[in-house]
């Protein structure tokens, strides 16, 4: 019972944080892509040029880092 509770808790934690990160990572990619497309079509109502490619790279790096970082815990 006792250990059982803890196991459930651990599972929920892993799955939960996993879902949260997975979902928000997806959202980051989706949003970045959307913005890039919109800017390509409409062009130009932004101050700093957003070179989608390397931003996507950054994002990937972070995502990877997070995975690592979470495994450490």
């Amino acid at each position: 019972m006792t250990s059982d509770l803890l196991t459930q808790g651990l599972e929920l934690m892993v799955v939960g944080m996993g879902t949260v990160f997975a979902f928000l990572t997806l959202l980051v990619f989706a949003t970045a892509t959307m913005s890039r497309l919109i800017q390509r079509w409409q062009g130009a109502d932004d101050d700093m040029p957003a070179p989608g490619a390397d931003r996507a790279a950054e994002v990937a790096a972070i995502a990877a880092a997070i995975a690592l970082h979470r495994r450490r815990r």
Binding site: G9, M13, G16, L24, T31, A32, S35, D47, I62
Partner: protein, 377 residues
């Protein structure tokens, strides 16, 4: 005449229990914090006053056909009030900063670690026999770490209605205490150099992006995590009304009359859960304690994630904005801004913190979806 006897027997002085007296004291304290210290007044005034009404003995207010109990049944058991509030919050939210720098969503994700750590902690304490929280209850308590009132109330209403009073009070109290709780943690986990980092000015965001974002978010929720759809769906609906520009009259009413009316009755209804019998139980202490822990851990993991991102990205990121990932909009952003200014008088983080701040709202709603999915009925 025995009527005077009846009168005395029906009086509060005769019927009131010590518990009720104590709870009235607690509620007066909440009113003090709200009115004099201006801590989250919109909710603490209504909850506090509702709590007093609910501890008046011998009259149906928070029970039976009493107004507050009706409000609870109609608005909170059904989940309607928190969802409508969430729609209003959506109509009041500006996703501009988030769209200008979507990476900050990671900060909103990291800060949710407080939720799950607390869930684990609550179950640990139960395992040790200190408290006796079920998985559902532990999940509802964890959500306090989301620092988002309506989300906490919505989840508690679904998973642990008996704890709703304590959870709501904890959530709003700690959101109110953000300016006191967060700064020490933020200073502890960052170097002065990091706190001094100035961030690049945010790009302008086009109307098209603003209109499409809530739809994009909704579709992702629909595809990935339907159990988060009620909360995030209403949130996106409010935001779409705000941004689409063709239903301004609806958006305006949502941001004013509608959210105000619902806030009043939500507060009173939550207050009905502050009746001594329900509130003065050991578990309440545990909830207040764990809630505080959840907050602290959430803040910490947000800040640490900020440091990590600053190391990993070419673009400078001030880790302080990570603390805003817990939501508590817009208080947490103001705190990040203030602590940033201490370290560097030219360092205005407010707008940069708004990104993670609204990301935190999304993050905790996602966490809520997971909780409802796995711990739910």
């Amino acid at each position: 005449m025995e009527l005077f006897g009846e009168l005395w027997a029906s009086s509060g002085m005769y019927q009131m229990t010590w518990g009720q007296l104590a709870m009235i004291g607690v509620c007066l304290l909440l009113l003090y914090l709200a009115i004099v210290r201006r801590f989250e007044p919109l909710l603490l005034v209504t909850i506090g006053f509702g709590g007093i009404l609910s501890n008046i003995p011998g009259v149906e207010i928070a029970t039976g056909n009493g107004l507050l109990h009706l409000a609870y049944v109609v608005g909170i058991e059904s989940g309607a009030f928190p969802l409508i509030i969430f729609m209003g919050v959506g109509a009041l939210t500006d996703f501009g900063p988030l769209l200008a720098n979507p990476k900050t969503l990671f900060l909103g994700a990291a800060a949710q670690f407080g939720i799950f750590a607390t869930l684990l902690g609550a179950l640990g304490l139960s395992a040790l026999g200190v408290f006796d929280f079920s998985v559902r209850e532990a999940a509802a308590i964890g959500i306090i770490g989301g620092a988002d009132g309506p989300t906490a109330i919505y989840v508690a209403g679904k998973l642990a209605p008996d704890l709703l009073g304590a959870i709501a009070v904890a959530a709003y109290s700690y959101m109110a205490l953000v300016p006191l709780i967060q700064p020490p943690i933020m200073r502890l986990l960052t170097t002065a150099e990091e706190r001094a980092i100035e961030m690049r000015q945010l790009r302008v965001v086009s109307r098209t992006e603003r209109v499409l974002f809530p739809l994009l978010l909704l579709l992702l929720v629909a595809l990935m995590l339907p159990s988060a759809a009620p909360l995030l769906g209403m949130f996106c609906f409010g935001n779409l009304m705000r941004e689409c520009g063709v239903v301004d009259r609806l958006s305006e009413t949502t941001q004013t009359s509608l959210i105000n009316i619902v806030t009043i009755f939500l507060g009173l209804a939550v207050g009905s859960k502050l009746a001594a019998g329900q509130f003065l139980v050991p578990s309440t202490l545990g909830i207040l304690l764990l809630g505080m822990v959840a907050f602290a851990i959430g803040t910490a993991s947000g800040v640490l994630m900020g440091r990590l991102m600053n190391l990993l990205t070419r673009e400078p990121i001030n880790p302080l904005i990570g603390a805003a990932g817990v939501s508590a909009v817009p208080m947490a952003s103001r705190v990040a801004n203030r602590v940033g200014l201490e370290a560097n008088p030219h360092n205005y983080l407010l707008m940069h913190a708004m990104g993670p701040n609204v990301a935190g709202v999304i993050g905790s709603a996602v966490a809520a979806g997971v909780m409802i999915l796995f711990a739910g009925p």
